[in-house]
Each structure stands twice: as structure tokens, then as C-alpha cells.
């Protein structure tokens, strides 16, 4: 591996710490322990591992049968090339992302029949994910330089081929399909003309990639292998020796990075991407120490090569904020002196208003990170911590292994690139909610400030002037519903995860009673904050899913939902509402929700505690939230409590 401060090669994965010399020993202790430690597996996976280390690690993981945590995911890989080394690398990379993936490769050359035949082994396995790992050699992409009609027709038929595979797999197996963009070849037919002249291989592949991304249905994931190959470098990516030797689509030296990209995509679809970037200040956002060097002594900005490097870190942070990632500060400094930079230094592009939580004090960074997570109402495992000081990084990694702490080289020119290359904030969609997230936190700060002023909670809630909009599941809300279902961990009674295609089916399923709730208040629109899914069973309305965004806790939205569900149940002449609480590590805050809402404990079973509310004895409470219902929601108005 290149020494960290000599060059930045994405293949070296320099944001991951070195694994050290005892990898196989550590692996042995992991594998032989009486109780398998997922925390240790995560720790071991969060280091730079080469192909053979990943292969050996995968062997150890495959011997464990009980994945624990969120459960295991199964992945089948269909490829026109040899993909076996990819499977083992994916298995071993998954723990880095707190996933457990069982990966399986279909036999060489069978990708088309495995996809199209409804009874193929792949389709009958009913995996969670199926990856179509096809390169340009897997398609009929024959170059036809200068023939635009033929070229367009070839591209269209290849895109249509992918869509057929996707449709067949979704129909037969229900899996989420992952398709790939195609890397260009490492050579050209003419040279510069290839980009311009329709029908060259370069032209065909570029057009294919654009049309694939446009045509692909929602609920299908795209792994941008074209982008990855460009970042690695096409001459590094392609290896004729390995193709000739064993039909490997790309140099297997790249497999650890490819597996990392794939795991990031799967993790993002499961809501496991990081949500907040926590920044150290001295020598991370500017050169020098503000406490010692003062405003005029620190190095930042135009006119200095070093200053430009630190400015690029700030610009990167601001870009992330624009796409919905929260920013926080964690620095060993006097609060007033640290804020002075944000308030007064002319070259700062980050200002106080961009920082959701500002922790500048002399306590240890790990405690501060915990405080930041609490202030933002997110898990500690949603944080990324960026600090130039290896000692601070080490302390945080030991105290809080769930926090992502990238290695940084000595050279700050590379800080921004390394942070972005680490891919902590992978996303599979970008919604208005994401766009506005950072501002929501600012609005929440305004709301909290008002709470401080009100003499009691009731007055405060009235002063918020809340309005709720309730409708059933629809196409417009679908991706946000999927995001909430897959990402919400705290206020989530049963933590049942559904894919976007399952959610799409609920929209037209008359036996499912589903609700999406948006909440506005005086300070702004909180967007969609609650999702409920119920079924009828034996004269009861059974709550399958009830989750809420932590942004709106303690607003009495819970009571509003209960009033609605009782109204719906009465309309359907049911007798009771049944709720289930399935305990997890993260949803302790709702362990007593049903009790607080007046349900009676019924029984305990493997899926948790069951609670029942007899409608005959229920009277609705009046809730300070103005309610608007979409016309397709039918409820008995005598449920009352509806403002």
C-alpha cells in the first residue's frame, strides 16, 4: 500500500485504519469465541483488508448461523463474468456497515436464464437483493461507427433487455434488484472522436448509462460501476490478464472497493447511512490553533496554498449540508473563542447558522459526541467524526466504535477527498425532506427556545398552531414512507421493514389500512412524520406498524393517531384495537406507549408484548392539532377529539 501521505489512490481505501499484523490471530479469536461478537466483527471489518483477508474473514462469518441484530440479508449475484471473489468480499465487508449479508453467485454463464425463468434457483430463493453484475461484454453492444440509427437501436434494445431481467426477477422473487452502469473500455477505436461519433463503443456505453438511469423504475437500485471505474482509472480497472485467465470482469485488486460500494448502497437502502458530520476545528477546518494564533494567525483561504486546502474542507461540509447532512462541531477550545472564527473571520465559508450543534469545551470528545447525538435525536451510530489528530481519533474509536472515524493523512490537501471517498453519506434518493433537514433542525431550535419561555406544556403546544394532514399511502408519498419505514428506530413499535415495492402493493390492497401523516406548525413544515399500517383480524384493528419521527415527540401526535385509529375501527364495526411492542436496542422510548394510551396488557410472546384497547370503554381526548383528512379515509366522527 502507498504510504498515506504520498498519494491519494482510492484503491488504497485510506480512510480505513490499517489492520495491523495480527489480523488472522484476531480473526481466530472472533471465530472461536463461545459467543460470536458482532461488535468485534464490526471492528475488524472497519480496517483496510485485502482480497485474501476478506476471503478468510468471509469463511469465519459463514460458519456463524445466528446473525442477531437486524437479521441477515440474502444477495444473489448474476454476472456474465466470474464473480465468486466478489461474493466473499461482500460477506466480509458487510459488518463494516452493520449488515449481515449471505451472498451467493449463480453458476457462470447462467445469468439470463436465472433472471428470466420464474422457477430458476435464483428466483425460488426469494433473496432480499439480486445484483445484475453485467459488463458491456454481457450485452450485444457491437460497435457500428457512424450509424446513428443502428446505434440508437442497439442502446434501446440493451436497456430493454435489462428491464426485462428486472421485471422478471421482481415478479418471480420479490427481491430488490440492483443494476449496474457500464464502465467504458480502457481503449478507444479512434481516439478523441469516440466521444462524438455515434456508434463507437464509447458512445454506445455512455448513452446506455444515461438511458438506463432514466428508464429504471423506482424501487430498483443503481450501482454506478461506471463512476467507480472512472474514479479508480480505467487502465487500473481493466486487466486483460485476468479476463484471459478466468473471465474476471475487472481487476480483482479492485474487488474490496467494489464490495464496499455495493455494501454502501445496500446499507443506504436500509437506512444505515450516516446522518451527521462532526468536525474538529483546529487544523481541520483551518490551519493553526485559534486559541493560540488568534484570528490573524490562523491560516485559511485565498492567498495561501495551505489556506485553500482548509477552505476546501469547509466547502465540502457546506455541500453535504445542502443535501441534508447535519453539521456539528466538537472542539477542545473555549466556546467563545471557537465561535469567534465563525462570526468574525472573513474567509470562513462555514458560519454559526450552518452548525446544528456546537460543542466547544475541554471535556473528552467521546462524551461530546454522545451529547451531540442526543441533542439531534439521532443514534451515536449516525455520526462521522473528522479530526486531524490521530490521538483523538484513536480515543473516539475505542470509546465509541459505532462512530465512523476516517483516517486522515498528514496532508490537508486530501482531507476533503478522503472524507467524500469514504462514502459515509450514501443515499438512494433525495427528497424535499432531505433538502430541508438542516433547516428543520434550526426551526426545532427555535421551537425549543419557545418551550423555554412558555409557562406550561399546554400553552406551548397551543402556541405551535399545529396542523396535521392525514392520507392513505400513495405514489407521491411512497419514497418518503419507505425511508421512514426503513430508517426509524426509536419511535417504532414493531420495527418491521418493508421494501418500496411492498409499500407500493399496500397502496392498492384493500385489506391494509395505512396512514401517512404530515405535520405543519408555526415555524414550518415538518413534512411526513408518522406512518401507520393496520390490518383487521377477529373484530380487532391490529397495528402492524406505528412509527414516528423523533422530531415531533411530546406533541400529542400519539393521541391524535389513537383517536384516528379508534374512529376507523368504529367505522368498521370492530370491537378493539390491538397493539404490539417488539423491543429492540433502540426503541425503549415506546416500551410503555400502549400502557400510557390506556391499552391493557394481554400477553407476551416471541414477537413482544400484546396490548388491547376495548373501543366501548374509550373516550377520545381533545388534542391541540387541527386535522385534515384525505377523502378516502372513513372514520366514525363520534370518536370525537378531532378538532
Amino acid at each position: 500500500m502507498a504510504a498515506p501521505d504520498m498519494s491519494l489512490n482510492i484503491l488504497d481505501m485510506q480512510w480505513l485504519p490499517d489492520v495491523g499484523s495480527k489480523f488472522r490471530e484476531n480473526l481466530r479469536t472472533l471465530g472461536e469465541g463461545r459467543e460470536f461478537s458482532y461488535a468485534k466483527a464490526h471492528s475488524l471489518a472497519t480496517s483496510r483488508l485485502d482480497l485474501s483477508q476478506l476471503h478468510t474473514f468471509a469463511r469465519v462469518l459463514s460458519r456463524q448461523t445466528d446473525p442477531g441484530g437486524d437479521g441477515s440479508l440474502s444477495l444473489s449475484i448474476l454476472s456474465n463474468a466470474t464473480a465468486d471473489l466478489i461474493a466473499s468480499s461482500v460477506i466480509a465487508t458487510a459488518p463494516r456497515h452493520r449488515l449481515w449479508i449471505n451472498a451467493h453467485v449463480a453458476p457462470f454463464g447462467t445469468f439470463a436464464t436465472e433472471a428470466l425463468d420464474a422457477f430458476s434457483e435464483t428466483n425460488t430463493r426469494r433473496d432480499d437483493f439480486v445484483l445484475l453484475a453485467l459488463d458491456y461484454k454481457g450485452f450485444n453492444l457491437t460497435s457500428c461507427p457512424g450509424d446513428l440509427t443502428q446505434a440508437n437501436s442497439i442502446v434501446a434494445s440493451c436497456v430493454s433487455q435489462v428491464q426485462k431481467f428486472v421485471a422478471a426477477i421482481r415478479e418471480a422473487s420479490g427481491a430488490t434488484v440492483i443494476v449496474q452502469t457500464l464502465p467504458l473500455a480502457a481503449t478507444s477505436e479512434f481516439g478523441s472522436l469516440d466521444a462524438q461519433l455515434p456508434g463507437t463503443l464509447r458512445w454506445l456505453i455512455q448513452r446506455f448509462n444515461v438511458e438506463l438511469c432514466e428508464a429504471i423504475s423506482s424501487g430498483v437500485l443503481v450501482l454506478d460501476v461506471a463512476g467507480l471505474a472512472q474514479m479508480v482509472g480505467l487502465s487500473e480497472w481493466h486487466d486483460p490478464v485476468q479476463w484471459n485467465l478466468g473471465k474476471f470482469s475487472f481487476s480483482q485488486r479492485v474487488v474490496p472497493l467494489y464490495a464496499e460500494w455495493l455494501c454502501r448502497l445496500i446499507a443506504a437502502s436500509k437506512g444505515k447511512s450516516k446522518k451527521c458530520l462532526v468536525l474538529d476545528l483546529d487544523n481541520t477546518l483551518w490551519g493553526g490553533v485559534i486559541g493560540d494564533d488568534g484570528l490573524h494567525g490562523v491560516v485559511l483561504g485565498q492567498g495561501s496554498a495551505l489556506g485553500e486546502a482548509y477552505l476546501s474542507v469547509q466547502e465540502m461540509a457546506l455541500m453535504l449540508r445542502k443535501r441534508g447532512i447535519l453539521l456539528a462541531v466538537c472542539s477542545k477550545n473555549e466556546d467563545v473563542i471557537a465561535r469567534m472564527m465563525f462570526r468574525e473571520h472573513p474567509e470562513m465559508c462555514l458560519r454559526e447558522e450552518h452548525i446544528a450543534v456546537f460543542q466547544a469545551n475541554w471535556q473528552d470528545k467521546a462524551s461530546n459526541l454522545v451529547a451531540i447525538a442526543e441533542a439531534l435525536n439521532i443514534g451515536v451510530d449516525a455520526l462521522v467524526f473528522m479530526d486531524d489528530n490521530p490521538a483523538e481519533r484513536h480515543q473516539v474509536r475505542l470509546a465509541l466504535p459505532q462512530v465512523a472515524v476516517p483516517e486522515l493523512p498528514d496532508n490537508p490537501d486530501y482531507f476533503a477527498s478522503i472524507l467524500l471517498s469514504a462514502g459515509y453519506f450514501e443515499a438512494i434518493q433525495f427528497t424535499n425532506d432531505d433538502r430541508q433537514r438542516a433547516d428543520h433542525y434550526k426551526q426545532n431550535a427555535a421551537r425549543r427556545a419557545v418551550l423555554g419561555d412558555s409557562t406550561n406544556l399546554g400553552e406551548y403546544l397551543e402556541s405551535l398552531e399545529m396542523e396535521a394532514y392525514v392520507s392513505t399511502f400513495d405514489a407521491v408519498g411512497r419514497s418518503r414512507i419507505a425511508q421512514l419505514i426503513n430508517k426509524t428506530n426509536q419511535f417504532n413499535l414493531t420495527t418491521r421493514r418493508y421494501s418500496e415495492s411492498a409499500i407500493e402493493k399496500f397502496e392498492s390492497d384493500a385489506s391494509i389500512i395505512d396512514l401517512q401523516i404530515r405535520l405543519r406548525d408555526r415555524y414550518g413544515d415538518n413534512g411526513m412524520i408518522c406512518v401507520v399500517i393496520c390490518k383487521e383480524c377477529n373484530a380487532a384493528l391490529v397495528i402492524d406498524t406505528w412509527l414516528m419521527s423523533c422530531r415531533v415527540l411530546n406533541r400529542r401526535v400519539e393521541e391524535l393517531v389513537l383517536n384516528l385509529l379508534v374512529g376507523i375501527a368504529r367505522q368498521r364495526n370492530l370491537q378493539r384495537v390491538i397493539g404490539i411492542y417488539s423491543p429492540t436496542e433502540k426503541n425503549g422510548i415506546v416500551s410503555d406507549l400502549y400502557c400510557r394510551l390506556g391499552f391493557k396488557f394481554q400477553s407476551e410472546s416471541s414477537d413482544g408484548t400484546h396490548w388491547s384497547l376495548e373501543l366501548s370503554s374509550f373516550s377520545a381526548s381533545s388534542v391541540p392539532i387541527k386535522l385534515t383528512l384525505s377523502p378516502d379515509i372513513e372514520l366514525d366522527e363520534s370518536a370525537g377529539g378531532i378538532a
Binding site: L27, Q53, T56, P240, N244, L245, R253
Partner: protein, 80 residues
């Protein structure tokens, strides 16, 4: 000189095949090492290329039958 190559190969073989009983000798071949199949061979040669700073052609890789052949090939490449 080839002693050093054999020592380095012992280390590489042990890491690649996760097997501390492997010793690189001229007659050692794939039939004697569990998991040294064609896929294991690719992993092995990637590690060898990184460690010794050499590159093999597809033909060379297919033509190497045992560790003795491998050492000769590495020595030839290093001599260039």
C-alpha cells in the same frame, strides 16, 4: 537469494490460504493446499505481484505448476 524468496512466499501462502502449516518448498503445489483452486490461485498471484513488484501474463500463470517454477519465474523477472 532464492532462500529469501521462499521465506517471503511462505508468509504469503500462509496469509492467502489462512494456514500456518504451509512451508514453501520447490515441490509444493495446489493439490497439497486446501482452498488453492483457480480462484485461490488468482488471489495468490495478486499478492505475489504486490509483494515482489512483478507482473505475470495469463500464460505464465497457467504454466506454473509448483512453487519451484514460481520462484524461478520471480527470479527471472527480478533480474531484468
Amino acid at each position: 537469494m532464492s532462500r529469501e524468496i521462499y521465506d517471503e512466499l511462505t508468509k504469503i501462502l500462509r496469509d492467502v490460504f489462512d494456514n500456518d502449516s504451509i512451508v514453501a518448498t520447490p515441490d509444493l503445489d495446489a493439490s497439497q493446499v486446501p482452498d488453492w483452486d483457480s480462484l485461490g490461485n488468482v488471489r495468490l498471484f495478486l499478492s505475489i505481484e504486490m509483494a515482489f513488484g512483478v507482473r505475470f501474463s495469463a500464460g505464465e500463470i497457467s504454466g506454473i505448476d509448483n512453487v519451484g517454477d514460481l520462484v524461478k519465474s520471480i527470479e527471472n523477472k527480478q533480474a531484468k
